[in-house]
Symmetry: C2
Subunit: 427 residues, 2 copies
């Protein structure tokens, strides 16, 4: 479909550009300072967890069964915290380690372990020549940064409506022993918000990697983060593995960073028996113990999966109007113009926006000039290189509704102006 | 000096052995179950920090200056926590990162960073062939385990009364570019309890390493952990570096694991400007944020260095009688027998014991049989190999005074019995 600007005569287009530039000048004159850059909960959301700070006092018994909270020991985490984490992920607590407050840090450390010590009886990756990781794109910049920081080659693979393009993934994983991992956010993916279909999960579970030390980094960051009426269903990858008769293939991660407090939540990892034995051996060297006070406070506050769901319903009530505002503002401002598409997630923290080819960097740059910081264009692709320069990640949760509305109005102007200018430049 | 057993006639020695075996049998019959294995604070000590659990409530303002406690951000740690950590180490807060609850984990991650990404403009250690770390021995088993786990060669160097043998250290560091680091506990060293002399610190500061990517891992774990009347003075390594006109040589670490709560304290690192820039870049990939609630609670509880010292005086009151008991029991039981020596530290968590050559494994093994778990013999040496098999680490803090007394009585019997048997075997 031709865009609204393609359909205009050149004088009409010039007039439209002049009008948009005038609108942009007016915004510029306001001196806005708004931030839509990162997937951060808003202050209203973090306030939901304040009661957690009353859960432990100097009188609290500092034990959990036989585990001692206020001294070394229990490196896998308090039993009660492992149980809660296992409920969130739908796995066996015996195969869960709760440690630290950052699941990204756990992912980092498992890449490090394979890189430096080797896994599955193989040589360390750092002595196996070029190592490749598959990066469904658009995806999560901090995932890609971990592997890139070690000189691992990040290979983009298409992320479709129902998950990564599994024909491409299977071809690469099953033919190339240098492919050692893939970064996945299987539910409410960052940034598109899609959830992997059962078929995609089954194809992951049935992979026969060329490398015995290939692992799927299954970052189930948004397992309980629906904000609409509908919660996407993600097939349990470990159940799928069992059905496929496959094993030692998946590291699954989760956290409560966006359930309770960012940077002070619980982080956890689960894997097969054999993989967990390797993970425990690695952690025994680097992580003597864990933050058991935080674990105990979390369990006292959240109780169980039902308690988590109650807490997430409160988050949803705050988050949902923001996503509805994104949908409304983009539809009103850009709907039917033939210049942009965007996603309509049921959960998670992002809307993924696709502008005209070659527009994203220019739009984000103009937004910055107009006083609105967005995630850098290209950030959702390995090495920051979006090959078509179309993708922009919208993170609507942190700003107030009022600020978000202003920011989106500016965004609509910026997208239209860049699209119109690009059309003009072609003539 | 000939030992008491060497001076005995063989019948006398046989009688002594029979008597000691009888004593051991009596102990065995008691079915003791005591633990002197790890440097853990006792429950009385951790109880000192319970009031910290009342410091934060749902009403606490969750800010520290401009820093937000309950959301992402401030990756170097809260300003108030960095200030406290800087006071403990006597350095500039601008060069301090407070992150996580385990300084060992920070050390691990800085070895990883050099190993995988490289530091000081050099290739990653993992692509530089054989890498060596110097290990003043006896030393801390968990230090040695980090480097060993990556296949780094741990090279023991003698630990003398005033610190590592600096002639040996300087020779190795300044001639061999494969030597990339040294593990140091400069104050109340684990396990001997000695503090490095000013001269040793100055010689460290004046090192001219053959490798530009050599670093001293200066684990100042017991900076404020005196328990006697006398507190050893450790020369500030960064002041010494400045005097020596040297730079980019030291990573210094500290924690409050044994000030507040093991596994839930604050961990921190400091280094030169250039080194801190590298550390920040590495942490930006692996550690998005930090446990700011714990940091705020710590600062509210400990306040400042004076508050830390008040807290440590309370620890000292609990710890000191235990160390006095060790000194008394060993002197009463083994003094003047010519079979053993031990250290007399003013602070820290350990007494280092030296038995007859070839006795340590046998003593620890007999102790286990008699119901007392000790740190494994050899653990204080790289690869668990004490070349003379003499060193045993005594960790007196965790057991109650009563249990500690029982354990030490058993220890005296075990040492005497093994020493006597060894003498008998020679005849």
């Amino acid at each position: 479909m031709a865009s609204v600007y393609q359909q205009m005569s050149t004088p009409e287009l010039d007039a439209a550009i002049a009008e948009l530039e005038h609108a942009a000048d007016e915004v510029r004159a306001c001196g806005l300072s708004l931030d839509m850059a990162r997937g951060k909960p808003s202050p209203e959301q973090t306030a939901l967890s304040r009661p957690m700070l009353d859960m432990l006092t100097s009188d609290t018994p500092l034990v959990d069964g036989n585990a001692i909270v206020d001294n070394y020991g229990t490196p896998d985490g308090l039993p009660c915290a492992r149980k809660l984490a296992a409920e969130i992920l739908g796995v066996d607590p015996a195969n869960v380690i709760v440690n630290g407050s950052s699941s990204l840090n756990l992912m980092h450390d498992l890449v490090v372990n394979a890189l430096t010590r080797g896994i599955a009886g193989q040589k360390p990756w750092c002595h196996q020549g070029e190592i490749k990781f598959l990066c469904p794109s658009p995806g999560y910049d901090r995932h890609f940064a971990i592997t890139a920081s070690f000189g691992i080659t990040n290979v983009p693979v298409p992320l479709l409506e129902d998950g990564p393009d599994m024909d491409v993934v299977a071809e690469l994983v099953e033919s190339d022993p240098q492919v050692k991992g893939i970064w996945c956010v299987p539910k409410y993916a960052n940034p598109t918000g899609i959830t992997y279909s059962d078929e995609v999960v089954r194809r992951f579970a049935a992979l026969k990697p060329a490398a015995p030390d290939f692992r799927i980094f299954w970052d189930n960051a948004y397992a309980v983060h629906a904000f609409g009426d509908e919660d996407d269903e993600l097939l349990n990858i470990f159940a799928a593995l069992e059905d496929a008769g496959n094993d030692n293939l998946v590291y699954e991660f989760g956290s409560t960073a966006k359930v309770t407090f960012p940077s002070s939540g619980l982080a956890f990892v689960t894997a097969s028996d054999a993989d967990m034995a390797e993970i425990r051996a690695a952690f025994a060297v680097s992580r003597v113990s864990c933050e058991k006070f935080s674990q105990l406070a979390h369990v006292r506050f959240l109780r169980d999966l039902e308690g988590v769901q109650e807490q997430m319903a409160k988050h949803a009530a705050i988050v949902r109007p923001r996503f509805e505002l994104v949908e409304r503002k983009l539809t009103e401002g850009l709907g039917g113009l033939g210049i942009a598409t965007w996603t309509h997630p049921h959960g998670g923290y992002f809307v993924s926006f696709e502008g005209p080819e070659g527009s994203a960097k220019a739009i984000v740059s103009l937004m910055k000039e107009l006083g609105v910081v967005m995630t850098g264009a290209g950030a959702t692709w390995p090495y920051g290189k979006d090959p078509r320069d179309t993708n922009i990640r919208i993170a609507p949760t942190y700003p107030s509704l009022e600020n978000l509305g202003e920011a989106l109005d500016v965004f609509v102007i910026a997208v239209k102006l860049i699209a119109a200018r690009m059309e003009r430049a072609k003539r």
